[in-house]
Symmetry: C2
Subunit: 415 residues, 2 copies
Amino acid sequence: MVAAIIVIGDELLLGQVIDTNSAFIAQRLSELGIKVVRKWTIADTLEEINQALKEASQLSELVFLTGGLGPTKDDITKKAISDFFKVPLQFSEKNYEHLHQFLTYRKIPIRDSHKVQCYIPSNAELLENKLGTAMGMWIEHNNKIFISMPGVPDEMKYILLNGALPRIQKLWKGHFVSSKTFHTCGVGETEIAERLEPVLLEFMDRITIAYLPSIAQVRFRITTVGQDQNEMNELLDQCSIVIRKEFGQLIFGEDKTLLEIELGKLLKENKLTIGTVESCTGGTIASKLSSVPGCSDYYKGSIISYATEIKETLLGIPDELIQEHNVVSSQVAEAMVRNSVGLLKSDLIISSTGIAGPDGGTEKIPLGTVFISCGNSKRILTRKLTLGKNRDRNIEAASVLALNLAREWVLGIEI
Amino acid sequence: MVAAIIVIGDELLLGQVIDTNSAFIAQRLSELGIKVVRKWTIADTLEEINQALKEASQLSELVFLTGGLGPTKDDITKKAISDFFKVPLQFSEKNYEHLHQFLTYRKIPIRDSHKVQCYIPSNAELLENKLGTAMGMWIEHNNKIFISMPGVPDEMKYILLNGALPRIQKLWKGHFVSSKTFHTCGVGETEIAERLEPVLLEFMDRITIAYLPSIAQVRFRITTVGQDQNEMNELLDQCSIVIRKEFGQLIFGEDKTLLEIELGKLLKENKLTIGTVESCTGGTIASKLSSVPGCSDYYKGSIISYATEIKETLLGIPDELIQEHNVVSSQVAEAMVRNSVGLLKSDLIISSTGIAGPDGGTEKIPLGTVFISCGNSKRILTRKLTLGKNRDRNIEAASVLALNLAREWVLGIEI
């Protein structure tokens, strides 16, 4: 079975909105061994949608449409679908009930323009959407399946994962694609590749490697395709052993995970609590830690001492220490840790102080210099980072590397 | 002039990486009145790149390629380009010099695999990349222009904005597309559309409207196409007047801006300093405020009192108040504001307390209930939010609405 994706919306052709949906759909399909053969990005008109539906249904057995299901006037996908299949639009009581429940929970009155959303092509089955007003649609026609979903990513994902994919999985038994993703932090793509490819040499005829770098992190993914799932899993396990042996604790997790999730697990296992004292990262470390559901088991709180005077008054860091070493120094980063263990009632503290940019810096302490520190009065790890000139990237890199430093601290290692 | 975009990478076809580049390119081109006629997403093979280059050069005068320029083995775009134009790959001293400078600044030793990046098609001119090792390439061939850029978004943007677009603008004088984007916060897309479309009725034959909703915010964009830029700007100005009259201070900004940037401007104009005291938003309000370059003029710092005990010890909120009203209450949100004005040396404080989810909540205080408060001991604005069940969305919505509340406080209005 092959699939095609039609991404609808003028805003996408003009580049006003980034299409994350087609990648998400492609990823889920590729996990099932279903190949996406083409993607279209088209305008929000009856003619364009009709034309794309024609082409897509000639090429593939599974056609996804995203976008064009909201309440505003530029959304005409339902009309286009009903034209394409030559069926009428019908008022759906099920859709109205959903709309009513959804809006009532949020104390929003139902407007006439909301009700327009309840008219659906008569051959469509509805797919539940817990996150928004527009429901998904499932249409079977001439042994092909058409799935229409709203363009809002969370809503699309909800409908895909809970409504569409489980039904597709029941219908499709094909060959398989298996993969395993490994997450690393603090080492560049080039070094990872240079270490990885020699150790995987004997497997290279059966696997492919993809590198997925992001700021201060590199993920790599090994993929194998075949018919025998046991054999494939065994191959991936063999690769895993070799990879783990080469990289050790440099790998912080596998498959769907995040550094903050893995750190959270470690803290929980070790019954440790954590807090952050941030200067240049301005709360980004805190927001990453607190983004993890259940983080209240280990995350206590933070002080963002952005202004130097807050470092002095709230954290009690002596003016002399700042004058002697500079506010951007390992001494201040470590004092931030020591002075806040008590304030934040935490077993360990992460701190950051640096020059994020885009301006600032001196010859001695250039733009992009950041000190991160982690620990408590008994044991502290401190790193000096030499980053670039882009503020957003520097904040992200320092935050990620600081979380990784906390991981090292808990593991009792230095990677 | 029309353009085509070729997005290269197996990871994109498999959906492992989201393509943000083609949207960014399309947006910049559409601002110049250059239409993107097709986008391809293709695999990282010589044959595929060659085939796409053929098709793209038949369809358009301007061909963009993104991806496939990094140091690892799956990157073979340069080889494909040199094959397509039948020119050799040559070692570029200019590229090597760039690599050397870039890596030396970051104290990274140059490896052999880095040097591979210095071989470029002999007909290519290099485009500077300040953010990474892979430079862009500009190739002119048979009155068509081919631009190849790395896939890392920041690097692609840098090369596009600083190298490619200025050269394209010099070569191209066509018809124009003008648009204006208006940013609102706290009101849904449906209500915006219902208020907007009647007041713009007389302009609808000359403009188009696009709605771009994100969490707790709706942007809308009016666009006009034509030959006479003065006439077009006058039309957009007329629309602006009508829109401003209808929405007033509900619009917080125009075109490229962010709520945190606009709030920052307001604070600076009014010589006010700000701090945040966050519970359920866990530092997200702080990280938004501190993401703005130059925020040290008004942003002092934050306390993330995630654990209830931190609210008691560090903020001095009496246990009795929490017991009486619940930690998620307007009373606690307001006490958080009052008790931290002094701690954070700020003229105004934003606070948040709520149940972000995905679990928790009671019948009286259901999941998604958040109180946000803004002000100081003299004047406080407080709002109760009734959000959904998704943790990430709730944190984002509460943070955005809290920044907007601070805007209202500074403006002395309630929207």
